[in-house]
Amino acid sequence: MSADAALVKRCLHGEPAAARELVERFQSDVLAVCRRLLAHLHDAEDVAQEVFIRVFRSLNRWDHTRPLRPWVLSIAVNRCRTWIGKRGKGPELADYLHEAPDRRPTDDSAEMVREIRAAVDALRDEYREVFVLFHEQGLAYEQIAETVGRPVGTVKTWLHRARLEVLDRLRGRGLVPADEQNEPSKREAPQTPSVQG
């Protein structure tokens, strides 16, 4: 029996220590996902609490042949989707930037970190989910597919599109180091020469 299965079994037997262990094992991941998907600290805490309530309600339905972490994160993603649906609007970037602590507040890359975060926050919800789960939570494609309930091919497509959008945002914001030998990017459709009238 895996460590996850043993922990879940103890939780199902009603051991308080096991419940605490489960919460402490996953609280960081759940909070991180909720914060990144909701972009609101207080909402993230509320939703993270709901996530654990759902986790304990559904523990008897967990497939013990699969890893526990993606399953817990899938509940977190679903609760975030529900919360976003209730909120009726997308993540508020300004709130997030005001509330979220910077990872590197004094480093030169702080601005780049913020820009990438903002780019991720601006993604549509499905893209943001797979981006966060892959690049921040380190889940594999198969685990993300289980987490978001979509085929692996769809997850790959979403992630690739998400990355291209983030790259485009970095390019559009002028955060890509200038190329000394070449002209600035002309990736957009060729501009029609203006006609002087």
């Binding site: 970095l170 955060l175 070449n182």
Partner: protein
């Protein structure tokens, strides 16, 4: 709910650029070394792909920064555990209420089904008193033979009018002295009751006695009047009781 964003597919990617974009994706997947981006031949010739490669390198460098541990709110685990325990209590209470409600509903359904499907009397004659023909003799028929006693039922049987009347009639018929004789004694009882009102004979000289003489005479005549008044009643009562006993005796038990 989702915001509308233009997809990257809306942006034309030249076929010759697709290999470079695929290389960028593999590098971001961790399946290709980052150095491979520098060595991409198409990127050196295509400005757009060169810029994509540089952006990917920036992204890779930022993603390579180890994330600081998530700052956990103070007491978060305790709050979660408290909420989980409260949720469990609420759900257990809800289950108990649900079970009780289901049991009550099931009991109500069972009672309703029992009332609907309970066995009815096999024949309506069980509750109907048989009417004798008009020219039947005015005497009570002999007592019917008792039906064999039914097997003891596990549950108490419901009270049936026919059974109750039959057993009552039989019990009356089995009384050693017929009740009709008791009814015939009624005038004598009235005589006995009126005796105290009979005053001894006294001289009429007393004015009070003279004044009360009409009342005394009325009281003295009361037994006779009662006898005469009740005679048809008692006769009718005797006949009615005899007829009743005869009819009761003819009632057939329905089971």
């Amino acid at each position: 709910m989702f915001k509308v964003h233009p997809t990257p597919e809306d942006e034309p990617v030249a076929p010759e650029c697709r290999a470079t974009v695929e290389l960028i994706q593999r590098a971001l997947d961790g399946d290709a070394p980052t150095d491979a981006l520098d060595a991409d031949g198409h990127a050196s010739a295509c400005p757009a792909c060169r810029e994509r490669v540089r952006a990917a390198q920036v992204l890779l460098s930022v993603l390579a920064i180890p994330a600081e541990p998530v700052a956990l709110p103070a007491g978060f685990a305790e709050r979660v555990l408290t909420a989980v325990a409260e949720d469990r209590r609420v759900r257990v209470r809800g289950r108990v209420y649900k079970t009780a409600a289901r049991l009550a509903l099931a009991a109500a359904v069972l009672v309703g089904v029992w009332f609907i499907a309970k066995p009815t009397d096999p024949a309506p004659t069980g509750d109907v008193v048989a009417v004798p023909p008009p020219n039947a003799p005015d005497v009570a028929p002999p007592p019917r033979e008792k039906a064999p006693a039914p097997e003891p039922a596990p549950e108490p049987r419901p009270i049936r009018v026919g059974d109750a009347l039959a057993s009552t009639g039989q019990a009356i018929l089995d009384v050693p002295k017929p009740l009709a004789e008791s009814v015939a004694v009624a005038p004598k009882v009235l005589d006995a009751l009126s005796n105290p009102f009979k005053l001894p004979a006294a001289p009429v000289t007393d004015p009070m006695a003279t004044a009360l003489e009409p009342a005394r005479r009325s009281l003295a005549d009361l037994p006779v009047a009662a006898r005469h008044g009740l005679e048809p009643v008692t006769g009718t009562a005797e006949k009615a009781l005899a007829r009743f006993l005869r009819d009761v005796g003819s009632v057939k038990p329905n089971s």
